[in-house]
Symmetry: C2
Subunit: 337 residues, 2 copies
């Protein structure tokens, strides 16, 4: 049998997460039972959303808190190397929720789907535009945000795996897009490479609220929020009538015990505005529709995912920490040998 390499949660992050919270472990792969199959993983997806389940007692309706010393749960892309499951044949490309590991044993549960490989779509896009980040961007923007031609849209973590896709879809839908990021260099990249109409550096010397006032003199119609906290509170002070806030993530809040307060909720009343959360996994039935449309956009050159790719499972922990502190760009992946 092959040896499995797995990254386990060695300790719960206190304050900011670091690579030290994880440990690489080797183990023998077990023999397959009936109804199981073995996946040779090709890419691991690094997702900020999983950070919250690394906290003690962080159970919710989606996942339970990850146990210590167990492999860190993750979305992966891989190819079936061996199968004792009739619906998952050897050779099939699959995506599902297993763990940070080189091999996964699966049984078809945990969001496991067989990927219909399209010609000319790079493999990494199945974890990016056509994967969880892309599904999050697609359904969050279109179903929750409901963009109309001419709408003014603000995206936080605008160069992240989700944000970069949101910005591009919003342009396709005829909106004016403003990306928010943490440095001048990233802002230039948002404008030049990711096609945002404008970019705002929330760590600039200039007050963020003044920058938003300048960018949205008539208010913003949609705020696609990946960050939560103070950025959300500031954006709430610049809503247009009937604005929609797509609550997608709260990166800024995962590391802190005492969450930053939102002090401008009542702006939602005077602006007749809506803030709504969602999870991409609720839309599984509609993935085919989204994947078909997004594949067309990729083929037409209207959509592509910026990626940061770490090389080898040994780099996983550091890459995840870098992503959470904003050092990476686009969708973050680990490419396995």
């Amino acid at each position: 049998m092959a040896t499995n390499q797995q990254v386990v949660l060695a300790s719960r992050p206190e304050g900011a997460l670091s690579a030290e919270n994880f440990r690489l472990m080797e183990s023998e792969l077990p023999a397959l039972e009936d109804g199981q199959f073995l996946i040779k993983n090709l890419y691991l997806s690094l997702d900020a959303g999983f950070r919250q389940w690394m906290n003690e007692g962080a159970s919710d309706n989606y996942l339970s808190a990850m146990p210590l010393d167990a492999p860190v749960q993750s979305i992966v892309l891989g190819r079936i190397a061996e199968s004792r499951h009739p619906e998952y044949p050897e050779g099939a490309l699959v995506m599902g929720r297993t763990a940070w590991e080189t091999w996964s044993v699966a049984d078809g549960s945990d969001l496991m789907t067989i990927i219909d490989e399209s010609e000319g779509v790079p493999l990494h896009e199945y974890l990016a535009a056509l994967g969880p980040a892309g599904m999050t961007a697609y359904f969050g923007l279109l179903d929750i945000g409901r963009p109309r031609r001419g709408d003014n849209i603000l995206v936080s973590a605008a160069g992240g795996g989700v944000g970069a896709i949101v910005g591009q879809i919003a342009k396709i839908k005829g909106c004016r897009t403003v990306g928010m990021s943490s440095s001048e260099e990233k802002c230039a990249w948002l404008r030049d490479e990711l096609n945002y109409d404008a970019a705002v550096n929330y760590r600039a010397g200039e007050d963020l609220s003044s920058q938003l006032e300048h960018q949205f003199p008539d208010g913003l119609d949609i705020y696609f929020d990946n960050v939560g906290g103070a950025l959300l509170d500031t954006a709430m002070q610049h809503l247009a009538l009937g604005a929609r806030i797509v609550l997608c993530g709260a990166i800024s809040q995962y590391d802190t015990d005492s969450h930053e307060g939102i002090h401008h909720m009542w702006e939602l009343i005077t602006k007749r505005a809506r803030a709504e959360g969602f999870m991409f996994s609720d839309y599984m039935d509609r993935y085919p529709e989204a994947i078909a449309e997004m594949s067309d956009w990729i083929a037409a050159g209207k959509l592509s995912s910026p990626v940061t790719v770490a090389d080898g499972i040994g780099e996983t922990a550091q890459a995840y920490s870098d992503m959470l502190t904003g050092k990476s760009r686009g969708k973050c992946l680990v490419k396995l040998a």
Copy 2:
């Protein structure tokens, strides 16, 4: 000419509002111009929502900050005593936004509507269930909250002008209703007189969150929020999947410069929940539909408004202050001679 008695804003409330912030003034009524009509006011409506426009610079999309030494803006119910406007005949019963005054000169703008008097409907209901409070309850609950039979609903300021109607409509729609109020005495009244299934005293010794956990073991489907602040933050920790928060008012926040923070916004993500604000005045086109349905409910004995009625314009300021500090019950009105 008759003498007009008006309550003016004498000073801007600092901290809690008191009757001292207002002053009674007398003036001669001006002669009517073409296109104007004179209303003899029968009832003044006391609405918490108007409190915010008493602050300096409190302009928003709805109203501007009220000027000092001018009559306090208010919804009123009155009968036309004299008219030089072809569409507003003498004798008609009208409701509109004028001011705390015994007589109003109007021109048909400012939400002024002629009331189609129904047999057996007490006059005060036109300012209660069939007025702004009722329209707020009706459209907020049905359009924003979208109740389904069997839903579990929490209402804050549950015995207030809006809350009392929300609770009754929710029962008509087959929901389980829990009212939140500030004393054991009021809670008993919510259960015994207003037909709530249960009541929660947020000032009780027992922690509010534990009380909500007890009342909503499976989470709450709708929170109809008239209060904002800490109560909203606590309710956010008890949402069911797909919950709707109807953001109707933020009484708790009107008096304070530094708004209490909401620390659990991200619960909206994991619960796929929605928080949405609205203003009753956006639904003017649909008032007839609401008034027809609510009148039927009143006629059938399924709906009635609890009221606190102050007697005479001299009592207006004290009655308004009492309402904001929770001393009154139901819809607060001033009956004029």
